[in-house]
C-alpha cells in the first residue's frame, strides 16, 4: 500500500478504523473493507447514484468521495434502514409499489429518498420526482419509485400530524 492513512469513521452508528490509500473511495471502503455491500457502484463518475449514502445526513455519491474525506463523519447506508429484519416504511413502500426489479439501483434510491424526504418533508409528487431524478434506474421506468416515495411521504406526514 502506498501512503497509508489510518481512518476513523462512523457507519450506521458503529465506529470503524481502517487503513486506506488516499485514493481509495468511500464506496470501496464501505463495500470491500467494512463488507457493507448493500451500497452499489454503477458508474464511478457520480451520475447514476447507485452508491448514494448519507454523509452527515445529506445524500452523497460514495464513488466521488475519497474515504479520507469522510474522516470523523457519520455515514448511513442501506443496511441501517431495516430494524432487525423488519422493513422500514420506505422499504415496505418500495415492495408494495413494485419500485424495484433487479434491485441494483435500489439502495441508492432508498438513501436518496431518505435525504429528499428529510430535506423536503412536505414534498409534492412532482417535487419528489424532481429529487429522484438525481439517480438512474434501468428497470422500472421510475413511476413506481416515485409512487413508493410519495406514499411514504404522505404516510409520514399523516403520522406526524
Amino acid at each position: 500500500m502506498r501512503d497509508p492513512h489510518l481512518l476513523a469513521l462512523t457507519v450506521n452508528d458503529s465506529e470503524y478504523e481502517v487503513v486506506v490509500e488516499p485514493r481509495r473511495t468511500l464506496a470501496d471502503v464501505l463495500r470491500h473493507d467494512l463488507l457493507l455491500t448493500g451500497t452499489h457502484v454503477g458508474c464511478e463518475h457520480g451520475v447514476c447514484g447507485a452508491c448514494t449514502v448519507l454523509l452527515d445526513e445529506a445524500p452523497v455519491r460514495a464513488c466521488l468521495v475519497f474515504a479520507v474525506q469522510a474522516e470523523g463523519s457519520s455515514v448511513r447506508t442501506v443496511e441501517s434502514l431495516a430494524d432487525h429484519g423488519e422493513l422500514s416504511d420506505l422499504q415496505q413502500a418500495f415492495s408494495d409499489h413494485h419500485g424495484l426489479q433487479c434491485g441494483f439501483c435500489t439502495p441508492g434510491f432508498l438513501m436518496l429518498a431518505e435525504g429528499v424526504l428529510a430535506e423536503q418533508p412536505d414534498a409534492s409528487r412532482e417535487e419528489i420526482r424532481e429529487g429522484l431524478s438525481a439517480n438512474l434506474c434501468r428497470c422500472t421506468g421510475y413511476q413506481t419509485i416515485v409512487d413508493a416515495v410519495h406514499a411514504t411521504a404522505c404516510a409520514r406526514r399523516e403520522s406526524a400530524s
Binding site: T77, E79, C102, G141, I145
Partner: protein, 817 residues
C-alpha cells in the same frame, strides 16, 4: 405544465385488482397439442409481494462484485485506443513490475480458442468470423481487450494497465454503412472483404412487382435508429476460481445464459465441460447485453486456472459504454404499395444492421437482420413481401441481442409507412391500421409464420378510445400548442422454440428448457429452471405457477436458477421466453410431482388412484370420503424416511422433471401504444404528456410484475426514441464514453404510463402465458416518433430517425429542414 393540467385523465387502472377476461375460444392453433386447459388457481393472477424484495431492499442481495473469496486477485484489461490498426508492439514488461501486479497476459500467453458463432448458411449468405479472447495482430474497435492484468487490488490493476506499452500501425476505420459498403473500403475482417457478414433475401414472394405496378399509392420511407447500449445498471463481471476437490473451474458470472457460457468457455479453454461450473448470483439487469458470451469471462477464468487463485473482474462504466455489447444501429428502406382504400398490397424492404466488429456467440451477427426479415410484416395482412437483410461489420464495439431485437426498428419502419400512407390518402392513421391489421386467427402470413390468437384490433381501438375520451384530440385541434398524437400497433413472437430458431439456420439452437422439482420431508418444494432471473421476478411468478399446480402455499416454493450443476441444461433468459417456456416446464414438473403425491397417497389411504386428488391446501384428499386426507408432509415423510411403506413401483424421494419447448412458430404477445407529445417551439424540446399502453401477454401471472415489465420496457424505448445514442467520430473514437454524453433518461424525462390488460391465453404454453419482457421497448420508439411527426404536421417535415434531437425539431419548426 404537468399532465394534471390537461383534460380528462382518468384514475389509473388498479393493477392490484385485475379482472381477467374469461378464456376465449380459439379458432385454431398454429402447432402442437393444446396445453393450457384454462385452469386458474389461487395464486396465478394475483399481485402477490415479490419474493426477491426483502433481500434486495435491505442490501442483502448478492451481486457479482459482492463476492469476495479468500486470496482473491483482481483483473482488468489493457484495451485498444484506436479503432482499426495492426498491433506493432505490446509490451507488458513494465506492467509486470508495477507494485501489486501479479501477472499480465497477452493473447499468446493464454493461447485460448476463439469465439466463433456460425450459421448453417452458404458462403454467399453468411461469413463466419472469429472473435479472439484477446486481440491478436490487429484491433478492430476502441476498447477491444489486448491484455489481461492481474493484481492484488483493483487500484494496482489500473496502475498496471497504465504501464502497458502498445504501438499501432493505424488503418482507416469503418464507421458507417457508407464507409463499410464503399468500393475499396478497408476490410474489418480478411474473411469478409466487403464488410458484409450476412446477406440474406429471406422472402421474395410472387406478385411484389405487379403490386407496385398496380398501386394507387407507393410509400418509400427510410428509417434509421441510433446505436444503443442496453445498459444494465450493474456492469458485467466475473469471479473465477479453481476448485481442486471438485476438479472444476467455478465461474461466478453475471450472465443471462450460464449454460452457454459453460459450453463456450470449455471449448475455448480446451477442457471437458464437466470441469466448468457456471453460477450466477443476483444480477443487476441485462436486457440482452448479458445473453452472449463475453471474451472477458473466458480470459479471467483462464487466469484463475493458471494462477490457481480466485480472480475477479468488474467492468467499469467506461468499458461498459465503449466495449460492452451494443445494438440497434439499423437502416431500413421500406417501400410499400397501397390500393386506393389504404390497404397494403406489397412490401419491399432493404435492411442493413451495423453489427460492429465481431459476431456474438451464440446468436451471430445475423441476429438483427434475420429477426427483421422474418417478422417485418408485423401485425398487418401483407399479400406480397420481398426483403433483403444484411449484417455489416464495422470498427465499433460488437453487438448482442438487446431487448426486442430489431422489433423496435422494423415496427418503427412499418408504422411510419402506415402514417405516410394515411397522410397521402387523407385518412386517419388509426383507420389505415384498422384496414390492414390481422383480425382472424390463426393467421398464416406471407412470411410463412402462423400467428396465434391475439387482440391486435381490440388493443388499437382501446388505445385510441382512451386518448379520444380524455379529450386529447380536441386539445390538439385547439391549435394553441404543438401537440401531437402517435400510435403504434405491434405483436411480438415471444416463445421462440427450437423449431422457430432452427428456421434461422442457427447451429446452436435455443428453445427448450428444463425443470426439476423436489419436495422435502416438511412438504416444501425447491424447483429449478434453466431460465435466469435478473429483475423479471421469476422467484415470485414461477412460485405462483408451482403453488397453483400443487395446491401449496406460495411461501413454501423456492426457485433455484443460475447453476450449471443443478440444471442439466438451459437457455437462460432472453426474448420474453422465461415464463412461456421455463414457466411451462415448471408447471409440467409440478403436475408430475402432484401425480406422484396422489399415487403414494392412494396407496397409503388404501384406495384407488382415481379416488384421490390434490386438495388445493397442501394435501391429498380421498374423493369419496373427504374426511380422509393426507397432508404433503405425511406423504413426504413416507417417501424419504419410511420408504418401505411406498408402493412397490414407486422410487423413494419426491422428485419430478419436465422439459418444455414451444412447438411450431411460437406464440405472439401484442400491444398498442398511444402517446401525446408537446414540442416546445422555442427549444425543440419534446415532452411526453400522456402514455397509454394496452397489452395482451396471455395469462397474466402477476399483474404488478407485468405492469413493471411494460413500464420499464417503455422507458427504454423512449430512451432510444429521444435520448440515447452511442456515437463515434470519423476515426471510430467513441464520443459517448460517459453518462455525460450518453444520455440516460431520469425520472423527469420518463412519464407515467397507464396500462390496460387484455388477455388471450396462449393455447400451447402450459400456463397460458405469452411473455411480457420486451413488448414495452418495442412499441415506444414508433409511437413517440409518430407523435412528434404529428406535432410537426403543419411543417410538412417527416422525421424518420431516432433518437430525435431537439435541434432537429427546432429546425423543422423554423423551416430549416
Amino acid at each position: 405544465m404537468t399532465t394534471t393540467d390537461l383534460p380528462g385523465i382518468p384514475p389509473e387502472v388498479d393493477p392490484d385488482q385485475p379482472e381477467p377476461d374469461e378464456p376465449r375460444e380459439h379458432g385454431g392453433r398454429p402447432a402442437g397439442e393444446p396445453r393450457f386447459d384454462g385452469r386458474r388457481g389461487r395464486w396465478v393472477g394475483a399481485s402477490i409481494p415479490r419474493h426477491e424484495d426483502p433481500r434486495l431492499l435491505t442490501g442483502c442481495g448478492r451481486f457479482i462484485d459482492d463476492i469476495a473469496l479468500s486470496g482473491m486477485l483482481h483483473a482488468g484489461f489493457v484495451r485498444a485506443t484506436v479503432a482499426h490498426a495492426a498491433i506493432t508492439e505490446l509490451d507488458l514488461a513494465a506492467t509486470r513490475e508495477v507494485h501489486g501486479v501479479v501477472a499480465a497476459y497477452d493473447a499468446a500467453d493464454l493461447a485460448l480458442g476463439d469465439i466463433v458463432a456460425v450459421l448453417d448458411r452458404p458462403a454467399e449468405e453468411f461469413t463466419p468470423t472469429a472473435m479472439p479472447i484477446l486481440a491478436r495482430g490487429k484491433v478492430r474497435f476502441v476498447g477491444e481487450p489486448l491484455a489481461l492484468v492481474v493484481a492484488r487490488d483493483p487500484y494496482a490493476v489500473e496502475d498496471g494497465i497504465e504501464a502497458a506499452r502498445v504501438s499501432y500501425d493505424a488503418l482507416d476505420a469503418v464507421v458507417s454503412e457508407e464507409t463499410a459498403l464503399a468500393p475499396g473500403a478497408p476490410a474489418v475482417h480478411d474473411e469478409a472483404p466487403d464488410n458484409v457478414l450476412l446477406d440474406v433475401s429471406m422472402f421474395d414472394t410472387p406478385g411484389v412487382d405487379e403490386a407496385f405496378a398496380d398501386a394507387a399509392l407507393t410509400v418509400d420511407v427510410t428509417t434509421r435508429s441510433g446505436r444503443q447500449n442496453a445498459l444494465p445498471l450493474e456492469t458485467r463481471g466475473v469471479v473465477a476460481s479453481w476448485d481442486a476437490r471438485d476438479d472444476q473451474l467455478l465461474v461466478q458470472t453475471c450472465s443471462q445464459v450460464p449454460h452457454q457460457v459453460r459450453t463456450m468457455l470449455a471449448r475455448s479453454l480446451g477442457i471437458a465441460e464437466r470441469t466448468v461450473r457456471v453460477t450466477v448470483p443476483d444480477m443487476g439487469g441485462g436486457f440482452g447485453q448479458k445473453c452472449v458470451v463475453g471474451r472477458e469471462e473466458i480470459a479471467v477464468a483462464a487466469a484463475a486456472q493458471r494462477l490457481d487463485r480466485p480472480v475477479k473482474w468488474i467492468e467499469d462504466r467506461r468499458e461498459a459504454l465503449t466495449a460492452g455489447f451494443l445494438a440497434r444501429e439499423q437502416r431500413y428502406r421500406t417501400r410499400a404499395a397501397f390500393d386506393a382504400d389504404g390497404r397494403i398490397t406489397a412490401l419491399d424492404v432493404d435492411v442493413v444492421c451495423d453489427m460492429g466488429a465481431y459476431s456474438c456467440y451464440p446468436f451471430t451477427a445475423g441476429i438483427e437482420p434475420l429477426m427483421a426479415s422474418a417478422e417485418m410484416p408485423s401485425v398487418y395482412r401483407v399479400p406480397a413481401y420481398r426483403v433483403r437483410g444484411r449484417a455489416i461489420t464495422s470498427n465499433k464495439a460488437p453487438t448482442a441481442p438487446y431487448r426486442g431485437v430489431s422489433r423496435p426498428q422494423y415496427v418503427m419502419a412499418i408504422e411510419r409507412v402506415m402514417e405516410r400512407a394515411a397522410r397521402e390518402l387523407g385518412l386517419d392513421p388509426v383507420e389505415v391500421r384498422r384496414r390492414n391489421v390481422i383480425t382472424e386467427f390463426p393467421y398464416t402470413g406471407v412470411n410463412g409464420v402462423t400467428y396465434d390468437p391475439g387482440t391486435y384490433l381490440e388493443s388499437l381501438d382501446l388505445a385510441e378510445a382512451t386518448i379520444r375520451d380524455e379529450g386529447w384530440y380536441e386539445a390538439r385541434e385547439a391549435g394553441d400548442r404543438h401537440l401531437g398524437i402517435g400510435f403504434c400497433c405491434f405483436s411480438e413472437r415471444t416463445g421462440y422454440g427450437s423449431e422457430a430458431f432452427a428456421k434461422r439456420k442457427m447451429t446452436v439452437v435455443p428453445g427448450f428448457d428444463l425443470s426439476e422439482i423436489r419436495m422435502d420431508t416438511t412438504g416444501s418444494v425447491v424447483v429449478t429452471s434453466g431460465t435466469m432471473n435478473h429483475g423479471q421476478s421469476h422467484e415470485t411468478t414461477f412460485a405462483q405457477i408451482v403453488a397453483d399446480r400443487l395446491g401449496l402455499d406460495v411461501a413454501r416454493v423456492k426457485l433455484r436458477q443460475g447453476d450449471t450443476e443443478r440444471i442439466a441444461y438451459g437457455w437462460g433468459t432472453f426474448a420474453s421466453r422465461s415464463v412461456t417456456i421455463g414457466g411451462s416446464a415448471v408447471a409440467l414438473a409440478s403436475e408430475r410431482l402432484g401425480e406422484l403425491l396422489c399415487r403414494i397417497a392412494a396407496h397409503l389411504l388404501e384406495t384407488r388412484p382415481d379416488n384421490v386428488a390434490l386438495d388445493g391446501d397442501g394435501g391429498v384428499v380421498q374423493l369419496d370420503d373427504p374426511a380422509r386426507r393426507l397432508p404433503f408432509e405425511d406423504i413426504a415423510d413416507v417417501a424419504h424416511l419410511r420408504s418401505h411403506l411406498l408402493p412397490k413401483d414407486v422410487e423413494p424421494a419426491l422428485t419430478a422433471t419436465a422439459s418444455f419447448d414451444v412447438p411450431g412458430d411460437g406464440t405472439f404477445s401484442n400491444a398498442s401504444h398511444a402517446v401525446v407529445v408537446e414540442v416546445d417551439p422555442g427549444t425543440g424540446e419534446i415532452r411526453i404528456l400522456r402514455y397509454v399502453c394496452v397489452e395482451d401477454c396471455g395469462v397474466v401471472i402477476n399483474p404488478k410484475v407485468v405492469d413493471g415489465q411494460c413500464r420499464g420496457g417503455i422507458a427504454q424505448g423512449i430512451a432510444g426514441a429521444l435520448f440515447e445514442e452511442v456515437t463515434y467520430d470519423g476515426h471510430g473514437e467513441p464520443s459517448a464514453a460517459s453518462f455525460i454524453d450518453y444520455l440516460v433518461p431520469t425520472a423527469t424525462e420518463i412519464p407515467d404510463v397507464s396500462i390496460q390488460h387484455l388477455e388471450t391465453p396462449c393455447a400451447f404454453t402450459a400456463n397460458g402465458a405469452k411473455g411480457a419482457g420486451e413488448g414495452g421497448t418495442i412499441g415506444a420508439p414508433a409511437a413517440v416518433l409518430n407523435a412528434v411527426n404529428d406535432a410537426l404536421r403543419h411543417t410538412g417535415v417527416e422525421l424518420d430517425t431516432t433518437p430525435i434531437h431537439p435541434s432537429t425539431v427546432l429546425a423543422a419548426l423554423e423551416g430549416e429542414l
